[in-house]
C-alpha cells in the first residue's frame, strides 16, 4: 500500500499529551519535519522548557535535555559550546522565555549564540492553569488577571521579536503564526531558516510562533484560532524583524 502520510522520523511514537486543539502538536511537527528535511535528527540536541512543552523530550527523537524554567538558552549555550558540530535548539513558551528566562534570552541573543530558538507565544501560562503571561494582552482575562490585564497595575505585554531585533547580536528574528494553513506553511519556512542559519554558522535565530491555548483561553479550538487573527496578530504582527543575511543568498 502506498504511504501517503506518515509522522516525521524526528518524532518518537509517544502520543502527545497536549489538550485538544492545542497547536503545540503542529509546531512540534513543523520542527520535526524541518529536522527530517535537513537530515539533522542524528546531530540535533533539543532543550525542553518548563511549561506545557516540558515533555518535549519524550516527543522529539533526537537527544534531549530538560532545562530549569527559563534557562533553556543557557543550557543550550553550554551544549553548543561543547559540541559546536551538533545542532542545538530550544523550544520554549512565553512564561519561560519572556518572563523568568528573559535574561538568558536576551544575553544568548546578544552573544549571537549559534542556536535555534522556537518561541511559542500563546499569551498565557498553560501548564499551571491559565495565569497571566508576559505576553498576555491588555484587558485579557486570566486566572491572575481576573478583571482583565490592567496595564497600569502590571505593565504591558512584551513584544519579544521587536525587542530582540534591536540588538546587534542576533542573526534572525521572525514572528509567525499557526492559525491557518498559509501561516503554518510560512511558519515552517521560518523554522527551517532558523535551523539552516545554525548549520551555516550564522548564529542566534529565533522564531516566535503566535499560538493558541483554547483550554485556558476558554474557547473552542476554532474560536481560539480566530482570536489569534482578531486580537493577537494586531498586537504581535507577523514578519521578519531581523535577518542579517537577507539578500545574501539571492
Amino acid at each position: 500500500m502506498a504511504v501517503v502520510f506518515e509522522k516525521p522520523k524526528s518524532l518518537t511514537d509517544a502520543p502527545f499529551h497536549y489538550c485538544p486543539g492545542c497547536p503545540h502538536g503542529i509546531i512540534h511537527r513543523l520542527v520535526a519535519e524541518v529536522m527530517d528535511e535537513l537530515g539533522i535528527e542524528g546531530k540535533a540536541i533539543g532543550v525542553a522548557p518548563v511549561g506545557c512543552a516540558v515533555m518535549a523530550y519524550d516527543y522529539f527523537a533526537c537527544d534531549m535535555i530538560e532545562a530549569p524554567h527559563g534557562r533553556a538558552p543557557a543550557v543550550a549555550t553550554g551544549i553548543k559550546r561543547c559540541r559546536p558540530e551538533n545542532v542545538v535548539f530550544t523550544y520554549q513558551g512565553d512564561g519561560d522565555l519572556a518572563s523568568i528566562g528573559m535574561a538568558e534570552t536576551v544575553h544568548s541573543a546578544a552573544r549571537n549564540e549559534n542556536i535555534t530558538v522556537i518561541f511559542v507565544n500563546n499569551a498565557i501560562y498553560g501548564m499551571t492553569g491559565g495565569q497571566m503571561a508576559p505576553t498576555s494582552l491588555p484587558g485579557q482575562v486570566t486566572q491572575t488577571s481576573p478583571y482583565g490585564r490592567d496595564v497600569n497595575h502590571c505593565g504591558w505585554p512584551i513584544r519579544v521579536s521587536e525587542m530582540l531585533s534591536t540588538l546587534e547580536g542576533p542573526e534572525y528574528i521572525a514572528r509567525v503564526a499557526v492559525n491557518n494553513v498559509k501561516n503554518v506553511k510560512n511558519a515552517k519556512k521560518a523554522i527551517k531558516k532558523a535551523f539552516e542559519n545554525q548549520i551555516n554558522g550564522k548564529g542566534f535565530s529565533l522564531v516566535e510562533v503566535v499560538s493558541a491555548c483554547p483550554t485556558n483561553w476558554g474557547m473552542t479550538p476554532k474560536a481560539a484560532l480566530e482570536w489569534i487573527e482578531s486580537d493577537m496578530l494586531p498586537y504581535y504582527p507577523i514578519g521578519v524583524y531581523k535577518d542579517r543575511s537577507a539578500g545574501e543568498e539571492k
Binding site: T12, E41, G42, K43, A44, I45, V47, A48, V54, M55, Y57, D58, F60, A61, C62, D63, M64, I65, E66, A67, P68, R71, A74, V75, A76, T77, G78, I79, K80, R81, C82, R83, N86, V87, A103, E104, V106, H107
Partner: protein, 353 residues
C-alpha cells in the same frame, strides 16, 4: 620531582581543573574568587577550551548543566551569594545525574554579607542549598596544594558517581600563595553513554531529565540515587588526623580554621594538654568513622568554625552525642587566632575534669 611553584589558591584550582581535562568554564564575577575566572579567561582560548562569562550565576550553572549533559568535564566557580543563585541548577544537575565541579570560595553572609573569609555555607553545601533529596560531594581544602589536588579529585569523583563535587574553600585559601607541585598525570576518562552527543541515527535518543510526574517512579529514582550516595559514604570519606594517638581532647576543624587550630594544638601540647585534631577533608560524606574511633578515647570535642556553629551538628550526630562538643567560632569574615582556640581547649579541659 615536579617543580615547586608559588600560586594563589584560586589559581591553583583553575590550573588543576585544566590539568584534569576541564575545557569548559562558565562563571560570573564575584569577590573573592575572580582569579579563577581570570586564569581561565587567559588560558582556555590558548588550549582550545571555552571560557564564557555568563550574564548571571543562574545562567552560568545552567551552561554547566548543558555542558555536563553533553559529556564534558565542566566547572563554574563563585562565592557565597553567587552560590545561592546556583542552587536551582545544582538541584537539576543532581536530579539529572550528570557530573559537574562547582567551587565556592566562601565569604561572610547572610545576604550580601562581606567579602572576608567565612565557612558559613557549610549547611548550604552539605545539607542542600537547592531543593529536593540530593547530595553533593563536598571537599574542603586546607592548603593551596589541596586546592589543586582536591579539584582533580573532585572531577574524578563527579565523573565516577555522576554527581556534583563542590570545592568548599574560603577567601583566605583562595587568596593566599603557597608552593605547590603538579604531578604529570593524564586525566582519567570515564565512559558517558548517557551523554548528549546526537544519536547519529545509531541509538535511541538520550534524555537528560529530572522530571518524573509519577510519584512511584520519582521515589524509585531517589532510592536508586541514595544507594549511590551510600556507596560514596562508604568509599570516599577523607580526613586527616593530627596528634590524635594519645589525645584526650579533640579539636575538629576544616579548611583555614584547621590551620589555625593546628597552631593551637601545638601550643596546648606545650602546656601539657593532650589534644589532637581531626580535619574533615570531605564534609560530605562526613568522616563519621574518624569520630566513631575518637569518641571512646577523648573526653570532649571542640569544633572550630568560621560560622555560628554548623559542622558542630554533624560532630554531634557522628558521635551520637556521647561526648560534649563545644564551639570555638568567629563569623562574618573574622578568623579566630590560635590563642582563642587554645583558650577553648583549656576550657574544654576544665569542663571535662
Amino acid at each position: 620531582m615536579a617543580e615547586r611553584i608559588l600560586m594563589k589558591g584560586n589559581e591553583a584550582i583553575a590550573e588543576a581543573a585544566i590539568r584534569a581535562g576541564c575545557r569548559h568554564y562558565f562563571g560570573y564575577p564575584i569577590t573573592p574568587q575572580t582569579e579563577i575566572a581570570a586564569y581561565m579567561a587567559k588560558k582556555m582560548p590558548k588550549i582550545g577550551g571555552v571560557f564564557l562569562q555568563a550574564e548571571s550565576e543562574i545562567a552560568s550553572i545552567n551552561m554547566v548543566y548543558g555542558a555536563a549533559a553533553a559529556g564534558m568535564r565542566v566547572m563554574t566557580s563563585s562565592s557565597s551569594p553567587g552560590v545561592s543563585l546556583k542552587a536551582e541548577g545544582l538541584s537539576y544537575i543532581a536530579g539529572s545525574d550528570v557530573p559537574a565541579l562547582v567551587v565556592n570560595v566562601q565569604r561572610g553572609g547572610p545576604g550580601l554579607g562581606g567579602i572576608q573569609p567565612s565557612q558559613s555555607d557549610y549547611f548550604q553545601a552539605t545539607k542542600g542549598g537547592g531543593h529536593g533529596d540530593y547530595r553533593m560531594i563536598v571537599l574542603a581544602p586546607a592548603s593551596v596544594q589541596e586546592m589543586a589536588s582536591l579539584t582533580i579529585k573532585g572531577f574524578d569523583l563527579a565523573d565516577k558517581y555522576c554527581v556534583t563535587s563542590m570545592i568548599l574553600a574560603d577567601g583566605t585559601i583562595g587568596q593566599m600563595m603557597e608552593p605547590i607541585t603538579f604531578e604529570d598525570t593524564e586525566p582519567k576518562v570515564y565512559d558517558k553513554p548517557w551523554a548528549l552527543t546526537g544519536t547519529e541515527g545509531k541509538r535511541k535518543h538520550n534524555v537528560v531529565n529530572s522530571l518524573y510526574l509519577k510519584p512511584d517512579e520519582l521515589e524509585k529514582k531517589n532510592f536508586e540515587r541514595y544507594e549511590k550516595y551510600a556507596e560514596i559514604e562508604k568509599n570516599e570519606a577523607m580526613w586527616e588526623e593530627y596528634m590524635m594517638d594519645d589525645a584526650e581532647y579533640c579539636v575538629v576543624a576544616f579548611g583555614i580554621a584547621s590551620r589555625v587550630a593546628k597552631n593551637a594544638v601545638v601550643a596546648a601540647r606545650e602546656e601539657g594538654i593532650k589534644v589532637g585534631l581531626i580535619r574533615p577533608i570531605t564534609l560530605w560524606p562526613f568522616p563519621t568513622a574518624a569520630f566513631e574511633a575518637a569518641q571512646d578515647k577523648v573526653k570532649a570535642f571542640i569544633s572550630v568554625e568560621l560560622n555560628m556553629g554548623q559542622m558542630i551538628e554533624d560532630i554531634r550526630l557522628a558521635t551520637g552525642c556521647k561526648k560534649p562538643v563545644s564551639l570555638c567560632n568567629r563569623t562574618g569574615g573574622m578568623i579566630p587566632g590560635p590563642d582563642e582556640v587554645l583558650e577553648a581547649i583549656r576550657n574544654a579541659k576544665k569542663g571535662a575534669l
